[in-house]
Amino acid sequence: MEALPGAAGARAWARRHAFSFLSSLGALSRQPIASTMTLIVLAVALTLPTALHVTLDNVRAISASWERLDTLSVFLSVETNEIEARRLGSRLTLWGDITAVDPISPEQGLADVTGQLDLGNVSNELEAALPSNPLPWVLEITPEDGTNVAALVNRLEREAGVSSVMVDLKWLERLDAMLAVLGQLVVLLAFLFAVSVAFIIANTIRMDIQNRREEIEVMALVGATPAFIRRPFLYTGLWYGLLGGTLAWLVVNLGLIALSGPISNLSGSYDADFSLHAPGIEISALLIVGSGLFGILGSWLVVNQHLKKINP
């Protein structure tokens, strides 16, 4: 008697896989409405953390460009005269963490202030009215990229003749801290949504299993291995994950395209040249492949639970 062996060999393996592959696609197409609804839920669940990540990425890019524009204003004491101010300025240019020093005379400062305040011809009257220019010499300092600004401020304040150092970095630091918090939040949300993807897919597969209970039992009865029974469902989970991830990626990119017009208008009004970054290749790959893997995980959990009942 020639009983059925576990037909070994690469070709038998390939045939069994082809069968699983095709029957998983069949499962998706048999219930187009249910499959589509699941895919939409998955896409929405995956879009949320991805969109948040992209938003955060873009805010980081803007804040980085702001930081580079930042200068420190070193106010010298009122008694300091031009020679002392210029000497200090040229000495500071030798410091490693300072890129440029721009001395601003009290006259220039006053002109800047009145100009900025748009006082027009009032400025002449103001100059005339003031007994003497109340402004000190100011050194505008551009720090080197990546300098520890706080430490630099400390050293500058200890220089003779320096009255005070003005930094307007506090709000940037706060923004950075806030972005770091939000960055953590994105990681947390991404994890939660990944878990929800696994469970959404698990639930969909569970319903698929209910519908095909008879088929599964018959297959087990005629000698299908758990791996063979499991495989089409794992493929189905993978398809759900991959398609859901791809849909989410499309939604995010379409959203960026929709926003790019208004954003360029906005950045134009600020005289800035800023455009939205699309999600990078790593994030896109992580999104699609990751949701595919969580799809497999979800279906694996639920199929295994069911298989234990059939094979006591």
Binding site: M1, E2, A3, L4, P5, G6, A7, G9, R11, A12, W13, R15, R16, F19, E214, E215, E217, V218, M219, A220, L221, V222, G223, A224, T225, P226, F228, N311, P312
Partner: protein, 231 residues
């Protein structure tokens, strides 16, 4: 081929389906398993195909203790056993051809080989012209024969049938039993659970009688079945 040693099966909830069952079925033998419904016939067959594990005792298949078989070996055991059910258990959304082909698909047999063997099996059960139909389009007897074709396609050394004639008229039942006898004559070991006493008596094969979960009688072949086995 099959040996039961002091086998008991108790289902969760305290239902004692079998208690202390002992018997042996030799290679190439054909036997009927009879007894009223609820006597434990189905449970006994389920223990052989490892659809259930025994609570106590040993079920030996080719000398191996089936009850202790690791879960991953179960599929390979089942490939050596063809099972036929009263309710056929065909997949109604798959064609007759695909239903019969299922065991071969699972084993990874090539498509040309599958085609050849499915045709041969359908020819043997007289359904060669029905391969593209769906099971619900067939009569009960035809569906049962599709089930038989599926059970024998893998050429298993053991065939188990659970009330195969349960839904058939007497003529069809007789044909079906004759068919089992033919299979047995080419070397397949066959165990048939049935309460069709007239048919069993006519065939004069070995009869095992279950009553309330215990084996109360084991009648050798060519002996006329007498007395009341249904109570």
């Amino acid at each position: 081929m099959i040996r039961f040693e002091r086998v008991a099966k108790r289902y969760p909830g305290g239902i004692q389906a079998l208690s202390d069952v002992n018997f042996e079925l030799a290679d190439g033998e054909l036997a009927f398993l009879t007894g009223h419904s609820g006597a434990g016939k189905s449970t006994l067959l389920r223990l052989i195909a490892l659809l259930e594990r025994p609570s106590r005792g040993q079920v030996l298949f080719d000398g191996r203790n089936v009850g202790k078989l690791a879960r991953r070996h179960i599929p390979y055991l089942r490939r050596r056993i063809g099972v036929i059910f009263q309710d056929h258990r065909l997949l109604s959304d798959k064609k007759v051809f695909d239903n019969v082909a299922l065991p071969l698909l699972i084993a990874g047999v090539s498509y040309s080989e599958i085609k050849r063997r499915v045709r041969a099996a359908l020819d043997k059960v007289g359904l060669i012209d029905k391969e593209n139909m769906y099971p619900p389009m067939l009569s009960g007897g035809q569906q049962q024969r599709v089930g038989i074709a599926r059970a024998i396609i893998g050429k298993p050394p053991l065939l188990l049938a659970d009330e195969p004639t349960g839904n058939l008229d007497p003529d069809m039942s007789a044909d079906l039993m004759d068919y089992f006898v033919q299979l047995n004559e080419v070397g397949v070991t066959v165990l048939i659970a049935s309460h069709d006493l007239d048919l069993i008596r006519r065939l004069g094969k070995r009869v095992l009688v279950l009553k309330d979960g215990t084996m109360v009688d084991d009648l050798p072949p060519r002996q006329t079945l007498t007395g009341d086995t249904s109570g």
